[in-house]
Symmetry: C2
Subunit: 286 residues, 2 copies
């Protein structure tokens, strides 16, 4: 049996379809799963909702919306519309899932638009997009969760780089509509991280706590540089205690992008994830 | 003729020995050069000083000291001793160089010691090392310059990751003894960067301004991911204006680690650097 708060983010077993992912997750003793939209869309929302209900699992979050940095125009409108759909999908799958699910839509901000060097402007457009999405999120009972990504992704993935910056962007909006993701991989290096975790908790904005590890050398594709907790250099004790002390009582996701892990059998990866979590993270969850 | 404040950091023409580097730099119309210890040590300090005097160039900085994160013991003592030697070398070459030289020793903090996950402890040991080196630095008239490195290097190169953190570490010490390096590549992503540049200037701690560009995808070796100014996505206007507004009037170094640039002829790289600087950076120097 795995830790009762452990959730397997579907990205960790990327090549499993929804049916397989839910089965593998439940069979490995998890009570919770973090979903991605693509495998849900692959089977259709109705079928996905039924499969999730049948699985008996909680849903801890839905990945992902965002990509808010295009300048005003058709591309930006498509992004906003896609986020409206993502909010509906999040509400629907969470509603079908077991009690204790979190209707959380993880947002990746997006990088600099092609040819642009205006980082400050791109960051402002993230807040402007949220202003459009807060009302539909509140209507659907979904919390939008801004995920700061490691600064090495700032130009091509996410112009939101620190927890403090994510909280600054969230601040104008109600906490039940806009929160933040605390992901160890992205924020462990930040000298200000413990204070910002406390700030996030005090504001009621910790929407999700995700854990995986950092190790060097980084692989050729730095997107795939995450590791099982304990296989790298992150000290999960102070971060996990800070999240706990900040009042977060929800599920804890393990989300790993790593080609070698993707190439292992999904059941093996699920079991290995649980062992890693139980060793490196669970002891620090009070 | 290149911009009067432009300095060629020797790392940009890594394969040139000191004699070649000085000649190439002067021939390309530069008035200033940033030196590295290894090529200086290769010819010996006396010969290096004579060569620098003969070149007529200013020295804008010396790279590098630091690597302050080992736990107390012989390795840490060797690091401290090496930094004492680096201070002497910096004073000596700067003394031999043309008027307007800056006796600045660039410090790279060092990463986590092997097997350690104690990032907070490693960061504390940086300040403790500085406390030992301030007196010899002041005696030699050398400013130690803490360089925050991009957070992607935090575990294996430098536990100092932001300008704000570098300034916090510098704060207990006199500004003439401990400053910071503002390097666009390392800090451009930081949402707080402009405020921290202003803070650094107000404290009299901007020891060096270094410029190069960021582009993705990152190469397999992320240490070699720097580009000529203008070849990437950094907007040099606000950063350069902030450094200028903060009162920095010294030389501006171009320091690029890039295998392709290293593989070009040194004179070509020096000329290309000057053109890139004159286009992307110089217009923003008031």
């Amino acid at each position: 049996m795995t830790h009762p708060r452990l959730s397997l983010n579907q990205a960790t077993i990327k090549y499993a379809d929804l049916d397989t992912a839910l089965r593998v997750t439940a069979d490995a003793g998890y009570q919770s799963v973090g979903l991605w939209r693509e495998p849900v869309q692959e089977v259709g929302l109705d079928a996905a909702a039924a499969m999730i209900r049948d699985s008996g699992l909680r849903v801890s979050s839905m990945c992902r919306g965002g990509f808010f940095t295009p300048l005003e125009g058709p591309e930006r409108r498509r992004a906003i519309d896609d986020n409206r759909r993502a909010i509906e999908e999040t509400a629907r799958v969470t509603d079908a899932a077991a009690d204790g699910s979190r209707a959380v839509l993880v947002l990746v901000a997006g990088g600099l638009p092609g040819g642009s060097r205006d980082l400050i402007g791109a960051r402002e457009r993230v807040g402007e997009a949220l202003a459009e999405l807060v009302e539909p999120a509140q209507a659907a009972g979904v919390q939008l969760a801004i995920e700061p990504l490691h600064p090495m992704y700032v130009s091509d993935r996410a112009v939101v780089s620190t927890l403090g910056q994510a909280l600054d962007i969230a601040e104008p909006f109600p906490a039940e509509a806009v929160g933040v993701v605390v992901d160890t991989f992205h924020i462990w290096w930040d000298p200000d991280v413990l204070a910002q975790v406390a700030r996030a908790g005090a504001a009621g904005r910790i929407a999700s706590y995700q854990v995986c590890d950092w190790a060097t050398p980084l692989p050729a594709d730095v997107l795939l540089s995450r590791h099982y907790p304990g296989d790298g250099v992150i000290d999960f004790a102070p971060l996990t205690r800070a999240v706990t002390d900040a009042g977060y009582t929800g599920d804890v996701e393990v989300e790993i992008f790593n080609q070698e892990i993707w190439d292992t059998d999904a059941a093996t990866a699920a079991a290995r994830t649980a062992t890693a979590f139980d060793t490196a993270v669970a002891p620090h969850l009070s």
